[in-house]
Subunit: 358 residues, 2 copies
């Protein structure tokens, strides 16, 4: 049996659960490597992957005897098969953060057990990355670094946000990414005031601020990266905010390492914002891994302790309604004694003259 | 108030519900036009969109007084605001197919009402498209037609599945699509035996069968389209299956029009499959609209009657494990008396000689 399923079985035992229904496809992939649609049943006697006729062939091609996972095709299953998995069990874990109310009711009916909330045990375990996962995230960060260099080369007056975002995604895929980690955000000028701006046909012009937020996906793992650039000049009002945001990121980075409580650090940052009369529009960061937003969230709401080999995107941002916004983001590796930036792109050389380009 | 929210309010009244919590972002967009994250509260006194600080600016920019929707920023809301929406109400609808068990429990706590399942009322209403929606889907279908012509031009020995799928997506976006409707499926040779094949580095060679399944997104609406092509020659075993699949699609199309029951038609198709000893690996089709898979599903399991101005993808497929698969799919417009194909790409000229190309 693979090490991750073994870990889960030990966890369940310690929680006095006799099994678990794993429905979240990201967790299924984490535990089994399988990307096909289906549900993983961790039952007392065996591990079962219930899939359907579209996927059964590719699932059976992937599973080996060492996996100790039996694949079932839904077509060939009866009421008794479902009831049989947890025969004479009482408490079975399920993923209350993923399973819909409708599916919850169906599980109750088909599995005939008491369903117990598991409070994200698998998501919490995914926070700490192993060597292979760290390698994949580093590679994804390398790709975003290269893409940022490429952006600086292709920028010219008149390019639209949509054209640039498409160019970025194309570049990442042609340069080693398996896909994008999320829809690339490109915003020019006043459009930067919205943290989740969707690229439009707004054209680039001299004096503009550019916000880019992008991520690559490599072997199923993500990078998360944001930068701003200033075209031809950097207005005074931008400069003050830029320096503030960069300093906030630096303060977080300087205090992050294994074992540190996130809460007071973020609380201090919020105080900095309030003193400047800036709104805190979104969290200061989040875990990165198979998903672009993972645990832990960098929040001042509750105690949460950093763990060695967690990968964290740190992304302070300031937004001036209707005018502009500035966000800086890098993906960091939490180590025993520090917090290492996986992105190599600088944050000082940010004024780009396009005057010679057209 | 817009016509769709008015319709929903009438529906709720007829179901003896005093309001509804709309959480599914597709349904929120359908009802309000808003794409920002948030929850629509249809309450006795008002319509409320609860969003957060990342989106409040763009939401307020979009809403007009005619929308009769008040936007709330979660940051500024208290326990009493939530309780106030449904003050002295008893039964409030929610989306049991979308809301997770965790969120269901949170809703119970914050809204202090009895939550009633609404059995997909909004999804069912979305089946019938209005003139504007039909126009968008037609345009999305035009884009896939053009992309298919483009594919035939760029195919050459040695191109990989991944390269071709990327080329298709790039073409669609450069030719009017706002995005892709789903990850493009491109499979060569033996890889076609898996209905949901993920593109690999498998290279195209003479004698190959090619399966393509692609869709464009235009103004938020999808097209769904599949074709097979045969490189240089069409082996005998392919020909028999191809003709069968094409004939199955034709039989469905010939019987589809407003008011027809889907069930017996699909049951007959399943009989055809069994007589040939073919497995039915997936449904024969589905509604298409804002989502690539919508109601109704073309299934023999229960009665379901076609409606005028439904848009339906019809996609019979036959798969021979480890050898090959063939699926043909077009998006159709259900009218009063017939079923009109929105795709113009032919299904007869399917052998493509690449001998002169390299």
């Amino acid at each position: 049996m693979n090490i991750r399923i073994k870990w889960l079985r030990d966890q369940l035992k310690s929680m006095e659960l006799e099994g678990m229904i794993v429905s979240n496809p990201v967790n299924v992939k984490y535990l089994t490597g399988l990307e096909e649609e289906g549900t993983l049943i961790v039952a007392p006697k065996e591990n079962v992957f219930i899939t359907d006729s579209r996927y059964i062939e590719s699932v059976n091609n992937k599973l080996t005897i060492d996996d100790e996972i039996v694949a079932y095709d839904m077509r060939n299953m009866s009421k008794y098969d479902y009831e049989g998995f947890f025969m004479s069990c009482h408490d079975i874990g399920f993923e209350e953060k993923y399973v819909t109310y409708e599916v919850y009711k169906r599980y109750l009916q088909i599995y005939q057990v008491n369903l117990v909330e598991t409070e994200g045990i698998i998501e919490n375990h995914r926070i700490v990355k192993d060597e292979e996962e760290i390698g994949y995230i580093k590679k994804a960060c390398e790709i975003t670094d290269c893409a940022f260099e490429h952006i600086k080369k292709v920028l010219k007056y008149g390019i639209t946000e949509r054209e640039l975002s498409f160019e970025i995604e194309k570049f990442m895929i042609e340069n080693g990414a398996d896909g994008v980690a999320f829809d690339t955000i490109v915003a020019f000028g006043e459009n930067t005031s919205m943290p989740h701006a969707v690229p439009t046909n707004r054209k680039l012009q001299s004096g503009d601020i550019i916000q880019i937020d992008m991520g690559a996906q490599y072997k199923g793992y993500c990078s998360d990266f944001s930068r701003v650039l200033f075209i031809d000049e950097m207005k005074k009002e931008y400069e003050e905010v830029y320096d503030f945001v960069l300093e906030e990121q630096r303060k977080i980075v300087d205090s992050f390492k294994n074992g540190v409580n996130i809460k007071p650090i973020i609380k201090d940052r919020e105080t900095d914002y309030h003193l400047k009369n800036f709104n805190v529009m979104h969290s200061f960061g989040h875990g990165v891994g198979m998903e672009i937003h993972e645990e832990p969230i960098l929040s001042s709401k509750m105690d949460s302790f950093l763990k060695e080999n967690a990968m964290i995107a740190i992304e302070p941002g300031v937004y001036k309604s209707g005018r502009f916004g500035i966000r800086i983001e890098d993906t960091y590796h939490i180590t025993k004694n520090s917090c290492i930036n996986l992105a190599k792109s600088g944050k000082n050389d940010i004024i780009l003259s396009l005057k010679d380009r057209n």
